[in-house]
Assembly symmetry: C2
């Protein structure tokens, strides 16, 4: 396309953005109009992509980080022939693929869900990392960012990783339209302010008038020819560009234009330009990823092993068997034991330093390219990435997250390092799987099983050593549980997981000596939860005590309660959990202070099988 055609294409994208939002009665046309020329130039002149074959491995990848500009994205898809005008006008309708903010669940041309700002560039960095470090492919990643979202720290985590990894296959195009949702941004049209920041982080920068299609074209060319560092194109634009009553004006964010028909007329009316096909030049078949027999580590019953160690060893073994497994860690690989993988498979290990948002975003990015990532840090610090995990679920992304140092059992380091909210966070993620093993063999099996699941999978590991309870050939289906102690005389069921399993067993021993038979369930699969086994235990023993190294809300206790949410009679339930704010103390002292050690469990058990009420 020549200059005139590019200008026309930009106008078409504006017109279609205005029309889509008008049809929907909501949406963000003005945020689309500022970036229309950027998209026109990028898609018509530089973006190498086969719209008929979105899974083509050599395709470039585009991420709309400013996800609210979805009308522009859909207008572009229409111009590329991927969707038709009729579908465009279903924007935001019930059942339409064209959601208010784009998601890849039904749209194969979308790489990742956006709409929570400051996430598109981080995920784009992950895709670019996959290209350079894993796929060894030539595809480029283009990310359209807003200026407002550059206030998010996650953008600078991404900027840091991209420059450090020399991702010259990555280009961020920033639509500097100077207006956020409620008014001007901090830096307005000061492109230099943004350029200084990107440069300081090691990026090449280009400043352009974002409505000068030739200048934008040259800037994209400059990005293509820049070696050794990513490029940020900082484009001065006007929100609502092309419609005088909307252009550069406040108060029009996130609304259809008041007079949409007039606006379309002012923009020159509908057009039907087609973006020329620009499929990737290379065949781009990715190198085959090897698969071999999985030889998991094995431990003997009675060994004392930390589940974090078992995770590290199992992940390394999984990486040996499967060439698609990638590990990422937040600069604590010596603690999480991800370093075991790093040592064996350095080419598939991505050190993310202390930047948990970027770590999860990078995992989402490499997963989008078909890899199977395991991202690990302390369970407590995964909370840093909560919004990224939430959005990964919206994307339908398949990632594995591993949180170590769970609970008060870590001991002296104190509450800042203790994962006490992670089960609540991970259970509430749509479609998630939450696993919490108590011994090494169980951990190894679950690490392997995670790889084959859909959605967000979470494994919780512990710092200290714990006894190996299971033999190495025991199987642990996701959604299952293990009845560790059972008799026809059971008057009580203890439901435990992780570090509380040995405590529950010891409590059961103590109660047994007093003539109180107790069932013990290892609920290693916190979500999905084994309703059937819990129901049977409830019916046979009448009452259940859950014991967890986690706050009382959202964890094991709630998972068990939910299992009885089917309208049938519910057993008597008591939950033991961490209700105090811990300080520093030994692991044993911590379990005792929180009332989740064997002695505390036994006390609660005696009360429950007697007449007393625990409150």
């Amino acid at each position: 396309m020549n200059t005139g055609e590019l200008v026309e294409l930009g106008q078409q994208l504006r017109v279609d953005s205005v029309r889509a939002a008008a049809a929907a009665g909501s949406g963000h046309p003005t945020s689309s109009m500022s970036a229309a020329d950027l998209m026109a130039v990028l898609f018509a002149r530089h973006f190498a992509y086969d719209f008929q074959r979105p899974d083509h491995p050599a395709n470039d990848r585009f991420v709309l980080s400013k996800g609210h500009a979805s009308p522009l994205m859909y207008a572009t898809l229409k111009a590329a022939g991927a969707i038709d005008d009729e579908e465009l006008l279903t924007f935001r309708d019930d059942g339409s693929r064209l959601e208010g903010h784009p998601t890849p669940r039904q749209l194969p041309w979308v790489e990742t869900a956006t709409g929570s700002l400051g996430q598109g560039l981080p995920v784009g960095v992950g895709i670019a990392l996959a290209g350079r470090r894993l796929d060894h492919a030539d595809y480029r990643v283009w990310v359209l960012c807003g200026d407002s979202e550059l206030a998010e720290g996650s953008v600078w985590e991404a900027a840091e990783q991209a420059a450090y990894e020399h991702l010259d296959n990555l280009t961020a195009i920033v639509d500097v339209n100077r207006l956020g949702q409620r008014g001007p941004t901090r830096h307005g049209h000061d492109l230099d302010a943004y350029a200084r920041r990107f440069q300081a982080f090691g990026w090449h920068t280009v400043e352009v008038d974002g409505h000068d299609v030739d200048a934008v074209d040259r800037a994209c060319g400059e990005a293509l020819s820049t070696r050794g560092q990513p490029t940020a194109i900082l484009a001065r634009t006007l929100k609502g560009k092309g419609v005088e009553s909307a252009e550069d004006r406040e108060g029009l964010h996130g609304k259809p234009l008041p007079e949409a028909e007039d606006a379309v007329a002012e923009l020159g009316g509908p057009r039907d330009l087609r973006i020329p096909a620009r499929p990737p030049s290379s065949d781009g078949a990715p190198p085959a990823r090897h698969t071999g027999e999985l030889v998991l580590p094995r431990w003997d019953k009675g060994d004392e092993v930390a589940t974090r160690n078992a995770f590290g060893e199992a992940l390394a073994a999984l990486g040996t068997a499967r060439g698609d497994v990638v590990a990422l860690d937040g600069e604590v690989g010596d603690s999480t034991r991800a370093e075991f993988f790093a040592k064996e498979h350095p080419g598939r290990y991505i050190e993310c330093y202390i930047a948990e948002q970027q770590m999860v975003a990078a995992a989402v990015g490499v997963a989008a390219r078909g890899w199977t990532p395991y991202a690990s840090t302390f369970a407590a610090f995964l909370t840093r990435a909560h919004d990224f995990i939430r959005m990964a679920a919206v994307s339908g992304s398949g990632i594995n997250l591993v949180g170590s140092h769970a609970g008060v059992a870590i001991g002296q380091d104190g509450p800042s390092q203790m994962g006490l909210e992670d089960l609540a966070m991970m259970r509430a993620v749509h479609g998630s799987t939450v696993l919490y093993p108590c011994d090494a063999n169980q951990t190894a099996r679950l690490v392997a099983a995670m790889a084959g699941l859909d959605g967000i999978r979470y494994l919780r590991t512990s710092r200290g050593e714990s006894p190996v309870v299971y033999g190495p050939d025991e199987e642990f289906p996701v959604g299952g549980s293990k009845v560790l102690r059972s008799s026809g005389r059971d008057r009580l069921t203890l439901v435990a997981a992780g570090v509380t399993v040995p405590e529950a067993l010891a409590a059961a021993d103590a109660l047994e000596r007093e003539g109180i038979a107790v069932r013990v369930i290892d609920l290693y699969s916190v979500k999905p939860v084994d309703r059937e086994t819990l129901r049977t235990a409830a019916e046979e023993t009448g009452c259940l005590i859950t014991v967890e190294d986690h706050h009382p809300e959202g964890g094991l206790g709630d998972a068990v309660a939910e299992a009885f949410g089917d309208g049938r009679p519910v057993p008597r339930l008591v939950r033991l959990a961490v209700r105090n704010m811990p300080g520093s103390a030994s692991p044993r002292e911590q379990l005792r202070a929180s009332g989740i050690d064997a002695e505390s469990i036994a006390v609660a058990g005696r009360l429950l099988v007697g007449e007393a009420v625990v409150s």
Copy 2:
């Protein structure tokens, strides 16, 4: 203190750091040793603070952002006469105030809990903001950062806000010891790399040898004399400085020195220097904050008002009555309605732009100076600040958080904008309060009540209009609930909150018409939960259905289940919640698709009072 004494003081801080960690058998002496000279100079020569009066309003404030260097903090407190040597050696013991990472819960010289990296500087920015914008006081804020933690995006959110607000009362001292936990940082000893970043964000920078006490002294002086912008002192240091076997070596992070006695000897043995008293020169009595009569907005029954609007109006009224109330928002004040407060009280409104971590950190910072902050954004985006909220609870901080646009009821914008995990996140925070009003008058009352509570308080608001159910004089105690419909014939209880209250009432009407009497409870206080009313309803009606615009995990259903965790018989329970991944659709279509509208509730009710089982 002169140069020689400063050097000696630095050695003393090293010796005491080594001794404390040796006594504890754990801790981070090497990370303390790198920064010992920085602390010696700062505390002996520049930090204006009355250790006998930590609540002195004119005191400077110090934040140990690299919280794992707690031995250094405690060694400094000993040198300042705040604690004695005996207490120093209780480091990390059960019951000791000297936790593995510092918290203010028992130590009045600590401003905020640290230990999750990248949080101290953000909170320090909040304290400095309080000094400049609210207290109009001269105190300075000094933050000791690690180099590793500069990888956290939250540091750059803080850097941005500090420069934008011209916080020349803020100094960050970065201990660039080049070694993280598992190995070298990205930038090693390249001080320029960090200086470029801070400069690009608008900071003044000074680069120094962090073991040259005179150079550090001059750098602090330069920070004091810098006007209009914050200063970052980038100090080149060696981890483990002063002990040859530890100095600048990998593999010694977070461990006592192997030969502590030899190390102490190598450092010249124990000393007993005392940091000279440097109380603040001004009296610094803060201006009195006015208190007046609270005149809350009032609405009539039957009005249609969005609870977010009621929040905005009530907060503005609260701000009129109370001079200590401050509002912060993440650039969505026109959506959360925090703008109502901003218009009436611009001097106490802090625009945080799209940086939710920094917004919460700033709230923690201003709360540390005695202000009562309300920080608002979309409920979904509060997940961005999860780790900061968690750490605020560790601090025992009293902050109010308000999440708007809860649930699928927002409609067309789609899942990226829907708070569907926020109740789970906020319930699991230690000591939190979680409120979810259904109408305008209730919202206003709860907004006012929040101010007087301890700990983290969360209010969930809704986007769309909803009918006013309560009169303006109705009271809503925290921990209470409202029985909206009740009779002696009730066969079922519906438990709802927020947008599901009108749905539950409509369902009750429909069932009533079929002869099924239904109790309806408005559970506006999700935590603490009204066990008594729920228990009574259970005993009188036999079964409960919870209905929530939230994922099934961690929200209303779990809160109700927890209310029956006292070991007494449990009623039959069914929970209706958002189990689908929503797309775009109208609010009404969304409630229907998620099965939480009146019709769906009625279906579940019919099943539950019959014999059928809902699964």
